[in-house]
Symmetry: C2
Subunit: 434 residues, 2 copies
């Protein structure tokens, strides 16, 4: 008796069936098109790297989640868990081959042994884009603008990009005399949206004292227009400063590009990660804010500091594709299709397969994807199969497929157009696909 | 003193710098476009799977090369080493969701701890396309036709697709009374091109005897036109048979599609892998045959037999992207570019970055990728930077970028066109990009 291995995949990993994969590719192609239109270039790096490269000096949460093992040569290796660390290594290693500022995008899978109960995946796609080697406001703004353009191109509706400046926050903390606790404070503030005001105040009071907690809470809750919020933050952080000037300039750029309505200044946005030093931002969908940030990032002072003594600053962002797909689905905006096929050619005689392919070649040359049905089954069965495979039209060829007139059946109405020449048929399909 | 981690990657793994990655993506996009035009749909599967799924009952060479480890949950897992085994598991697991025949493509990375001294990589991209659920000649031929169309679309010049039929070979061996040694014989014959006639005969004689070795060698060296070779093989294998009929039909399809010159019948093609049962094929570049087969595959009787009692036959092929890129390079046909950028906007005043982006937005909307330079450096330096980033044109805006006339500099000739309106400038770029 034959025994079978049960076909199954690992928890937190996914197969993508055609319709899901077509959707993913469609969204990724849109994103790539956007990145390319801004002059960004793609790179790729290995999925597997030396563990010390990926883990750096740190450990903590990453060390717990990373897929790490010894390869057959005894090397301590790991699967990448993000695209930022490999990019830092890449920039340090190829510094001589890159001209700065360097604008790159990287779309690739990453792996984290996360707790899957939180609805997280252990294998997922990241879409990162960064500008390194420039610390000017124009670079910050270009990343912000791409975030907006890229997300709008996906059809998720209007977005709210919440911007803050870590330097301004630190200037405020410095005024309070608690700058040395900045990392811990920023981490607590980062959780505000999740844990609420009371809990945040409580944690801050534990770390500092009640009065300071109160002041910080007031700072991060500043509200109003971008300009009003900026004025109130500036006042709380000791007046004019390079950070205030940077935010003022960014606001001017937003107004100059007619995109001001998509951006707000939100002092509670701090990002949990330690390496951010300048502007930071998160992005929410106006129609589905509760799904959380779909695109986040910020400015960092020293990207490749672990691997090189050269200081390279940059600014970048990362789009969470899975969350966006979930959002599109929840909003009923996810366009799915079974295939790229518009038309299929029925098989009347199996010996004529070469002629069907010759017919199909002419249709494909006209830019119309065309499937050829392989087996001479009943025409109704072939029509069903063509529909299942996503075709809208079925071509029914004659006894001499290349010479006899063709019949074109609209699979949605079952109406036939008969007696068509190949040229006429292609013209019909062209008109319909507009 | 700060200590740095040396930035380095694992042996056999690669970074892709922008120009190399742009080339890879360009070729992959061409392949995808071809697969889609034939009605094939994409799927994806996890990089990491249960080791027993990937290794099946076998072991041998695969077991030696596979990246296998225990994850943090103690599961025995491994990185996929090809796309065939995951596809078999995928078909068994999702059988109820797929309508047969199912035509899919899968482009993804795979990992093998190969000996890198043979110029092999430990991480490389495979491009597989298969039709499962049909055993008709039209399916065999569609795969053969896609191989030809896909490779021609990459610009590698004419190809020779060498076809054989394992069943016909086995029929011949059966006539010789050595069918039970078929697997070993086919493996020896598969090495003919590598080890030469003498060594092949020697190995066959060791396995069988001199007379049989001589007969087999004669069989696999049959030469002439497709039709002549087929006639001589048929005669050696006992006359007419389903295998002879299949090859005859395939030849007719080749003639009917006007592609006959790309195909030859080569009885020495057997493919090393055990699971092939019908037609098998390898593809060589006419301009660079020595680089080896760039696209191989065949028909198998029982794809998912390890995971399911349902017998699903199919036919498929796999394109070796790395070898094709090496070939294009050797032939001087590898088109490389530094970016997708056609035009860059110079930065005259850093405070005008918003207006430069507004200008760029109009150009991008016209379908022209447009970079914005970020820093107000000397114009000659900006021109150099734009050139390095792949732009052919530099736009020099006026004091009011959105109202003042624009200057368009051709970076290859350094000639300026001055006094252009935005509309005129876009028209110039449009004309030039034709």
């Amino acid at each position: 008796m034959a025994t079978f291995i049960e076909p199954r995949i690992l928890k937190g990993f996914r197969d993508f069936l055609p319709s899901a994969e077509i959707t993913r590719r469609h969204l990724l192609e849109r994103l790539e098109q956007c990145f390319r239109s801004y002059g960004f270039v793609p790179i790729d790096t290995p999925a597997l790297e030396y563990a010390d490269i990926l883990l750096g000096k740190g450990g903590g949460e990453t060390e717990k989640q990373i897929y790490r093992f010894n390869d057959k040569g005894g090397r301590d290796v790991a699967l990448r868990f993000d695209l930022t660390v490999p990019f830092a290594r890449f920039v340090a290693e190829h510094r001589g081959e890159l001209s700065l500022p360097f604008k790159r995008y990287h779309i690739a899978k990453v792996w984290r042994g996360e707790n899957t109960q939180r609805g997280r995946y252990r294998e997922f796609t990241q879409c990162d884009f960064d500008i390194v080697g420039s610390d000017c406001a124009a670079a910050d703004f270009e990343i912000l603008l791409i975030m907006r353009t890229a997300l709008l191109s996906l059809g998720v509706g209007e977005v709210s990009i919440r911007v803050n400046h870590r330097g301004l926050f630190n200037r405020f903390l410095s005024g309070l005399g608690v700058l040395e606790r900045s990392v811990e404070i920023l981490r607590i503030v980062d959780k505000l949206a999740k844990i609420g005001t009371e809990e945040t105040q409580c944690l801050l009071a534990q770390l500092l004292n009640d009065a300071l907690a109160q002041e910080i809470l007031q700072f991060i809750q500043a509200k109003g227009s971008f300009e009003e919020t900026l004025a109130s933050l500036a006042q709380a952080a000791g007046g004019d400063s390079p950070e205030v000037q940077r935010l003022t300039l960014l606001r001017q750029f937003m107004v100059d590009t007619g995109t001001a309505a998509s951006f707000m200044l939100d002092p509670s946005i701090t990002r949990g990660l330690d390496y951010y030093t300048g502007v930071v931002y998160e992005t929410f969908l106006n129609e589905l804010p509760d799904i959380g940030s779909v695109c986040s990032g910020g400015r960092y002072d020293n990207l490749a500091g672990l691997y090189s003594k050269e200081t390279i600053s940059g600014v970048g962002s990362s789009i969470g594709l899975d969350r966006l797909i979930a959002a599109l689905e929840a909003l009923g905006k996810l366009q799915t299709r079974a295939s790229y096929t518009q038309v299929a050619i029925a098989c009347i005689q199996e010996e004529a397969a070469g002629q069907y392919q010759a017919l199909a070649a002419s249709i494909r040359e006209a830019g119309i994807p065309c499937a050829v049905l392989l087996e001479a089954e009943k025409l109704t069965k072939q029509a069903m199969l063509a529909e299942k495979q996503g075709a809208r039209w079925l071509i029914i060829p004659g006894a001499d497929p290349l010479k006899d007139p063709l019949t074109l059946r609209d699979l949605s109405t079952r109406i036939n157009q008969e007696g068509l020449s190949l040229g006429k048929l292609i013209a019909c399909l062209d008109n319909e696909s507009i």
